[in-house]
């Protein structure tokens, strides 16, 4: 299991379009991905979970990946979040 803290730079937060882009990148991986936001644990492959969490611009989140390709998945996830998804 690997994890990293990051900050959402998308000015609209993780809404429909950014969340959609994030998920299509993450479903390529076999590992599980969890986004920890406050006291919420969010399935990083679920658009419903992500949108319902209302993750806004500037939110601090932790990404946890667990599985056979966890490091590659974590790297791409953090890179996507930090470079903006729109």
């Amino acid at each position: 299991m690997v994890s990293k803290d990051t900050v959402v730079v998308d000015k609209m937060g993780l809404h429909m379009r950014p969340a959609n882009n994030f998920i299509s990148a993450m479903t390529k991986y076999k590992s599980d991905i969890t986004i920890v936001f406050g006291d919420k644990k969010i399935n990083g492959k679920s658009i419903m979970n992500i949108m319902a969490a209302c993750i806004k611009y500037g939110s601090h989140i932790t990404i946890i990946c667990d599985g056979e390709d966890e490091q590659a998945m974590l790297d791409e996830a953090v890179n996507l979040i930090e470079s903006g998804l729109e």
């Binding site: 000015k11 609209m12 399935n43 658009i47 419903m48 979970n49 319902a52 500037g58």
Partner: protein, 540 residues
């Protein structure tokens, strides 16, 4: 004539026959539970049918309304393939529910989750879920949905709500207008109606009960007006308006993506005036190059107490984000005098137009003013915001406002809050005093914007509401024209940009003069943007 009123969200005129779309009552318990395996299979094939249908809709919508608008439906496919949602439906089916019952229960729980969040975007997601649920259950229970595609030419469609999939199935050749009980300027149905250019009136209470199939209706999509059973004269009037709306639209369409440049190659800009954050959409839709006047009074009126810094930040940053790199000029609070706000407890005055209002009130109440300035500075981080001060009559007022802005910057810095430093500060030229000292003001301001509505009244010493003297209220009066010319020249001599944000910026008679004097930016109501650009482009 009986009339109904709603929110006009997509302009245009129409006369047509009503077709009320009633939600088909589908009995989700109509089929009996077979086995978990069978129900799961049924659900999966419904998803496949849904995905195929939606892909077809996306394709046709991309052609009629553009890719960005079609993406709304793409989201539906992603939402339906959500692993979290699928696993819940699976669990529900394993637990003895039929495919339709499971879809209903799981979608309803997601709907509740989104609908209860007080956020416009979340509410839209709730309406997406409802749309998905109805489609899937419709497929499962053999309901093919209302035949929206097949309505006859000249129809006006009425529904409780137009979901994205319903709106995208509308045949724009046959449907002349849409009316719904739900919705707002920013809802999907409004965005799509504007994209395919059919008049739409939303938020009409009980429309689907008050309007009967076959009723003849006349619709004004910008005013949000619906007339029942119009007489021959009215029908003719609306049909002419519809015709000229299309003709004007077609003649102006080419100016949407054109630069505002005079025949001599001088670059100008046409901006839009707005009074609420959601109006920014209309500026974008009409090809505005920025927002030249964002009135902030709406935040302060019709409420019992002052808006918080967060509320103001939300409103300003929404517009800044919507406009991207384009300029947004926010006018600070222009309140008092005639625009009464009870909780501010400004005493009634004999001469409100010469009284305690606008910048005078704000500088006298720095605690209130600073909340607004802080919200603007924070919002500026998200876009290209400029500040404009109303009713300036003296350089001292500009310097005091500058000092307050500097204070706010310091506070925000020490609090570690994100904001933008040193954003441009402009002066609204709307008093004779400001015109007379325009040369002095130009040295301390970053830009001017001429507010012709008040300027005309003050220069001519006339109350436009007084019928006995209102004939004197005209921007074409020599004194007013001289005041405008002086202001533009003062700005030009120092080299700061100068715009105009009164109704006169769209005045066909005045535009050639303004161009000749060197006005840089014309800020007009969103509906006048393209016509104003056309007239500027036709000037030498």
């Amino acid at each position: 004539m009986k009339t109904l009123k709603g929110i006009g969200v997509s302009p245009g005129y129409a006369v047509g026959k009503a077709i009320v779309i009633r939600e088909a009552l589908i009995d989700i318990n109509s089929s009996a539970y077979t086995s978990a395996e069978e129900e799961l299979k049924k659900f999966q094939s419904a998803v496949a049918v849904f995905t195929k249908k939606t892909r077809e809709l996306i394709e046709s919508l991309t052609r009629s309304a553009g890719k960005k608008n079609a993406d709304i439906l793409n989201g539906h496919i992603v939402m339906l393939n959500d692993p979290f949602m699928l696993s819940q439906i699976n669990d529900s089916i394993q637990g003895g529910k039929t495919a339709a019952q499971a879809t209903d229960a799981v979608c309803n729980s997601f709907y509740d989750m989104f609908a209860t969040v007080d956020d416009e975007m979340m509410k839209q997601r709730a309406s997406d879920i409802l749309d998905i649920k109805n489609s899937i259950i419709g497929i499962l229970c053999g309901e093919n949905g209302v035949a929206i595609e097949d309505v006859p030419k000249g129809s006006v469609m009425i529904a409780k709500d137009f979901t994205p999939s319903m709106t995208s199935r509308i045949n724009r050749e046959n449907v002349y207008a849409i009316i719904a009980e739900a919705g707002s300027v920013t809802s999907h149905s409004a965005i799509l109606a504007r994209a395919i250019d059919i008049p739409a009136v939303l938020s009409v209470k009980n429309a689907s009960e008050l309007i009967k199939d076959g009723d003849l209706l006349a619709i004004d999509g910008s005013k949000g007006k619906i007339l029942f059973d119009p007489d021959q004269e009215t029908v003719q009037k609306y049909e002419n308006a519809r015709q000229s709306y299309f003709e004007e639209k077609a003649s102006l369409a080419e100016y949407f993506s054109r630069e505002t440049v005079t025949k001599n190659g001088v670059k100008k800009a046409v901006y839009g005036n707005i009074g609420k954050p959601e109006d920014a959409e209309a500026v974008i839709q009409n090809g505005g190059e920025g927002i030249g006047l964002f009135r902030t009074e709406f935040l302060f009126m019709d409420r019992p107490s002052l808006p918080t810094e967060e509320e103001q930040f939300e409103a300003y940053s929404t517009v800044a984000k919507a406009m991207g790199t384009k300029e947004v000029i926010i006018r600070t609070l222009d309140i008092g005098g005639d625009k009464a706000v009870p909780y501010l407890e400004i005493p009634k005055e004999d001469n409100p137009f010469l009284g305690y209002r606008a910048i005078r009130y704000c500088l006298d109440n720095p605690d209130i003013f600073k909340i607004q300035l802080r919200a603007i500075l924070r919002a500026a981080y998200f876009g290209n915001i400029k500040i404009m001060l109303p009713l300036i009559t003296d350089t001292e007022e500009v310097l005091s406002a500058k000092a307050l802005i500097a204070e706010c910057e310091k506070e925000l810095e020490s609090e570690g809050v994100l904001f933008k430093k040193g954003i441009p500060l402009g002066v609204m030229i709307e008093t004779p005093a400001a015109v007379l000292i325009a040369d002095e003001l130009a040295k301390i301001a970053d830009f001017f914007s001429i507010g012709t509505n008040d300027l005309t009244g003050y220069v001519m010493a006339v109350d436009r509401g007084n019928g006995k003297v209102s004939g004197l209220y005209s921007v074409q009066k020599s004194a007013v024209l001289k005041a405008i010319e002086m202001t533009v020249k003062s700005a030009k001599s120092v080299g700061i940009p100068v715009g105009m944000c009164g109704e006169s910026a769209a005045d066909s008679e005045l535009i050639p003069k303004l161009v000749e004097w060197g006005l840089d930016e014309f800020s007009v109501t969103p509906n006048s943007i393209l016509r104003t650009r056309k007239e500027i482009c036709e000037c030498d």
